[in-house]
Symmetry: C2
Subunit: 130 residues, 2 copies
């Protein structure tokens, strides 16, 4: 399996938009980015061209305005980022991370219930597999 590259901040924002909304032109991405923070069109274009080089994106050049797609799996990137965080500051222990999240200040009852449900689901899934 190819090693997952850790995207930069700007790259991550673009990937997130593509994961969420599907393939888009530079113009469309740039407009969405501008909802949060003003950024020039050619800036966005340049970043996306770099991402293309790195293999983070692919594009369809049929039309005049090229259509870009993410070429890296959302789950993989997220897992990679979690792994980095866990290794950097949680001594490699994922449960330490989870406990820090839950223990922190205002983990709502709702969130905790959601997680309990999910654990139940995982456990039932494991049972089935045995």
């Amino acid at each position: 399996m190819a090693n997952i590259i850790q995207p930069t901040d700007a790259e991550l924002k673009i990937l997130t938009l593509l994961w969420r909304h599907g393939a888009m032109s530079v113009r469309q991405i740039n407009e969405k980015l501008n909802n949060e923070k003003e950024v020039g069109y050619t800036t966005t274009l340049k970043i996306m061209q770099i991402m293309l080089e790195k293999g983070l994106l692919t594009r369809d050049t049929e039309l005049k305005s090229h259509i870009y797609s993410a070429n890296i799996q959302e789950t993989n990137v997220k897992n990679k980022m979690i792994k980095n965080l866990v290794n950097q500051v949680f001594g490699g222990s994922r449960s330490n991370l989870v406990m820090q999240v839950l223990g922190n200040s205002n983990a709502s009852l709702e969130e905790i219930n959601e997680i309990k449900e999910y654990i139940k689901f995982l456990e039932s899934k494991n049972k089935t597999e045995e």
Copy 2:
């Protein structure tokens, strides 16, 4: 409360060593860093001087070789990093992060049990507070 600065990668490594092992000289930090990856002594020194300026560290200059301490709480930094990750790629939902961690490949039974225990503890703590 003062706004927590997000430390850079190099800064985070140094903070982690100070949190884990307590106050140290630049020489000592540099040696520990070199266990992982070769880095020049003056590089480490420079980073630590910058961290001092930013207020991330304090130092005792009594002795010739200055002794540095972390001046920022481990928990605060970790929470800040979690918050950033959650905002960047989990749409602000902490439970999404937790579920991604748990659901990922090989969350061991042991880890899950650890987390279940912790949730029980949180719930009992809440009950007591009511």
